[in-house]
């Protein structure tokens, strides 16, 4: 066993990921990676990433309504590999204990693993310090934390908050609440003719009144990627902060918060092979230091008197109460798993799969796919939201599930303003992850054709 961060560990019966020697870190290519002791040996070259990783996900091997499950709803939530499941079980079975205050063995072990998970996250996104990671319940809570702690303090009447109309409700509603309380004004950037948020217009809309820019990194409906570095650069020029919703990017590509220069960044564990109930907020140290608490209670205090209390330093200041310890450790295990594959490799595989999905969908008659057309310069995320003329997406999704075992999503995908702008009430969405294969796409297209024929013949 290696010593970790100065904490000596006795031989432990629990297998958890080993820590490697620190790798040299250059901003763009290499990332520090952690090898998971329990992943398989390198897969044979002929197998795609999807094929080689599928065995790690037991949930994918089942039948649904008489057909093989084809899970294409990863933008909603991802599946968990065995190592993550094991990490959760190991925690509860072996060393579950409350963190941070305990003296005894179990407690110190739990604390160590919990803080190790924080460290893994910080390294995963290249934060400069683990204290820039605050554990939350999910990305939504993280955004609310910023809105409450930073927003209410720093945003005044007539200040402007800039968002795109393609934002997820979780990135919109907290700021509506802030605007109600402070008198600030929300402004929205619309789509350009390529079907993506108009970045040039966004830059135009920036002014000294703008205090915050809230943008997604990758859109969960359009599949488009925004140039965050560009946006943060322009935003900082006018003195505005930038909050990046990285829920659809962190799971699928290497994200470097220092490169992006984001002030705040949020993501959810359950979309990146980790358990539900945990997520994180990244924030620059100086911002965190200036922010008052969000929730009050145990763990976030320093001293408590009858009429006042003093608060802990970040990140503890923003982590009231007993955290989701097992889940945080599970997220750490997920990060190990992903790092074991390599985010670059995942990203490249998904770019290919994205193109294959898009091209295959184009073969469906009367289909309209939202978002940009993929090309050499324009990469789409491996998801497509679409509508087939005269067929309601719910009808499509229902029959795809019932007749073919294909799981997609139908609805507004928590992006009602976007759908309103697109002029539709709902859309169908197929979203892939690295454990999907071309066969999954083929099955989906075959099923979709069948379903479309069924409904067309009925009319």
């Amino acid at each position: 066993m290696m010593t970790l961060e100065g904490v000596a560990l006795k031989l432990s019966p629990y297998s958890f990921p080993m820590i490697t020697t620190p790798a040299c870190r250059t901003p763009h290519t290499f990332r520090r990676f952690l090898v998971s002791a329990s992943t398989a040996a390198a897969p044979p070259a002929s197998l795609s990433l999807g094929h080689s990783t599928r065995p790690d996900f037991p949930i994918l091997h089942q039948e649904v309504n008489g057909s093989r499950l084809v899970y294409l709803d990863n933008a909603a939530t991802s599946q968990k590999p065995i190592t993550v499941l094991k990490a959760l079980q190991d925690y509860y079975q072996g060393y579950n204990s409350n963190v941070h205050r305990g003296i005894h063995y179990l407690s110190s072990k739990a604390t160590m693993e919990y803080e190790l998970a924080r460290k893994k996250i910080s390294e995963f996104i290249n934060a400069s310090d683990a204290r820039e990671i605050v554990f939350t319940r999910n990305a939504t809570e993280a955004i609310n934390l910023v809105a409450h702690s930073w927003g209410l303090q720093n945003i005044k009447s007539n200040d402007e908050i800039l968002l795109t109309i393609a934002e997820h409700h979780s990135a919109i509603v907290p700021w509506q609440l802030v605007a109600q309380k402070t008198g600030a004004i929300l402004k929205y950037v619309e789509l350009n003719e390529d079907g993506v948020p108009d970045v040039e217009k966004l830059k135009d809309m920036l002014s000294r009144k703008t205090k915050l820019v809230v943008v997604h990194h990758v859109s969960n409906v359009l599949g488009s990627v925004l140039p965050i570095e560009d946006i943060t650069c322009c935003a900082h020029d006018v003195g505005a902060k930038v909050l990046v919703d990285a829920c659809q990017s962190v799971p699928h590509m290497a994200v470097d918060v220092q490169d992006l220069n984001a002030d705040f960044l949020v993501a959810s564990s359950h979309k990146m092979c980790g358990p539900t109930g945990i997520g994180f907020l990244y924030g620059k140290s100086d911002l965190f230091s200036s922010m008052p608490p969000f929730l009050g209670g145990g763990e976030m205090i320093s001293d408590v008197f009858l009429d006042h209390s003093t608060y802990a330093e970040p990140p503890s200041r923003f982590e009231a109460g007993t955290p989701a310890i097992g889940e945080a450790i599970g997220l750490g295990a997920a990060i190990d798993y992903l790092s074991g594959i390599g985010m670059q490799r995942i990203h490249e595989y998904e770019i290919e799969l994205a193109k294959y999905l898009y091209d295959s969908l184009c073969s469906i008659p009367n289909i309209r796919i939202y978002g940009p057309v993929p090309s050499e310069d324009v990469h789409r995320a491996a998801l497509c939201s679409f509508n087939v003329e005269n067929i309601h997406p719910t009808d499509l999704a229902t029959l795809l599930d019932q007749q073919h075992g294909v799981a997609i999503r139908s609805g507004h995908h928590c992006a009602q303003p976007l759908h309103r702008h697109l002029g539709v009430g709902a859309s169908a969405r197929a979203s892939l992850y690295f454990y999907n294969t071309r066969e999954d796409v083929d099955d989906f297209i075959h099923a979709l054709n069948d379903t479309v024929r069924f409904f067309n013949s009925f009319k």
Binding site: H392, T394, D395, Q402, G411, G425, A426, F454, F455, F458
Partner: protein, 400 residues
Amino acid sequence: MSSSSSISSSFRLFTTKLPNSSFNPKTLSAFPKHPNFSSFRRPISFERIPTISSSRSPSALAPSASMPLQPIEELPPKLREIVKLFQSVPVPKAKYEELLYYGKKLKPLEDKYKTKENKVEGCVSQVWVRAYLDSDKNVFFEAASDALISKGLAALLVKGLSGEPVEEILRVRPDFALHLGLQQSLSPGRNNGFLNMLKLMQKKAKDLVSGSDSVDLGLNSQVGGEKISTSGSEIDGGIEGSSLGLSSNENAEQLSGTSEKISTLGSRINGGIESVNVESRSEGNVKELEVVGSVSNEEESNSGDLGGRGKRIREALARELSPVELEVEDISYQHAGHAGVRGSGDGETHFNVRVVTKEFEGKSMIKRHRLIYGLLQEELESGLHALSIEAKTPAEVSTK
């Protein structure tokens, strides 16, 4: 007013208020006639509040894993037929075709009814449901949707529940959909369209019948204030026969040109004169009420055209229970032609029964029903197909 037991006249009428005054919709479902009324209807059934006829609570709308599936027999007849039809289709795909076909046949819903109150929550597609009372005071539904599958489900519910007695509508549990074999998700909560569709329809039916202000009547709104005068009645015990001024102050939305007037008078007027089912009459003819019929001693016959079985039912109940109120209605015609009825001989197969008696005091709903069934055992064995029972004590009635 004389006490019920001494009433021996042939029909019971009671003074209605003047046509323009308000009836309590709870107690009456009386509608003025339209001059152009033409057809003749049999006694109209009450819309009753739900009775518990089994140990399951009628409000258990959410299916629970531990509860057994609601047996098909408990479903209202039309819905039962639909379920059986689906069960007979072996292939899931064909079931969907069937469902879509129902949707296709669904009568379109006018845009003005696509309101917020009519919108079903939890559907990813848009579904609207409208409920109204027809001239017979039965609940009917209309629906629309922009997606085919939910349209089909809505059509299925519309067809299966329209015209059924309200307590049967309310008794339907959403897990009946499992019988369809369509694998409709039935998880309760905001996002279950089908569950919410059914719930909304049940709520609307209940509201309509209990006379909430937003009652939507499929009736001619001009029918205020017409009377049906009757011939003099010889009624012992002083129930004055007088005009049945059947008017309604409820908002009638639809103007149906040939709406039939229904006069169902179910009021409890001091002293326990029981309600009377009065047949509606043909236009213009102010006949004496068909209600005038059999004279029975010591009995409150309410409807003269009860056949043999109906009379026997009444006799048995009156004799054994000494009710202060007793109504027996033959609603077999509503079920005429469906499988349960064929072959039952005299056609008297379905009845609504309302009994108010001290005998029920201290007895649970189930016990009350069992008591009644026990008294009618012979009838049940000889072709009586279904009883819809309302069993109350006088105390319960007077607190209404």
